[in-house]
Amino acid sequence: MLSKLLTSALFAGSAAGLIAALLQLVFVQPVLLHAELYESGALVHFGAEPVSALQDLPGFEPVRDGLSIVFTMLIYSGYAMILVGLMALAQSRGAPINGRSGLLWGLAGFVAAHLAPGFTLAPEVPGVAAADVGARQIWWAATVAAAAAAMWLIGFGRGLPAWLAAAVLLLAPHLIGAPEPDVFTGPVPTEIGALFAARALGVGMAAWALLGVFSGYFWARESADDAGLGQQA
């Protein structure tokens, strides 16, 4: 069963990760490169001279962007392993798993892994002021775990207590608050930061929707093989 889980997850994760990487290169990377011009000091916001909002940005860089594609595929394969594992668990308890139901799983995954932490720790453009990275990572991991548990409770919990627990898990990290910087020192124009966060969340949603559909589709195929063998034997 482990090899079937891994196979489904690797297919789904590589496919969704590749598409996510291409979407990021087209829609997110130019905003990131634009921000880096301000991070490095090549451009100065509110300096002596007004700065054009249109800048010549580098195009495709084989090593840098190639690494980005590989790492995006890796990250979404990691997410797919968690997602397919949870799908198999739900399936063993009677939930239907296929490409269509996978869409809901993907959207729930997006809420858990991307939207929930981003609601307070917005996707950061390079150069932004931020608190200690270790503290933010702890908050990020705890928020993702709480939101994932909430998504499971909403999907499979029964009755008011489960939904109330889900609401508490979703709200608590944001009421407690994330580690914030003492002062704002970011040199990047707010317009670029806002566009970056919006683009990162939009691409993340598309990537997770695809990840859910692919994971449901491949796991349904793999586990159907299993059932078929069982019937033959």
Binding site: M81, H114, E124, V133, R136, Q137, G204
Partner: protein, 59 residues
């Protein structure tokens, strides 16, 4: 196959299934942690753009 052995083999295959699910999820968490969160500078530099674009705390 008696009812007792059928039940026993069902519970043991369910336990194997749970172990496999636990394993695959643990590997997945390990991959996301390694690619998205470990601060070793080679990993950080290689994954820099992706960490930002995926909304991870980066630096």
């Amino acid at each position: 196959m008696t009812v007792a052995t059928a039940v026993r083999s069902e519970t043991s295959s369910a336990r194997e299934g749970l172990a496999a699910i636990f394993m695959v999820a643990a590997i997945g968490i390990g991959i996301v942690a390694l690619t998205g969160h470990v601060q070793a500078s080679a990993l950080h530099d290689a994954a820099h753009d992706v960490r930002h674009a995926t909304g991870f705390p980066c630096h």
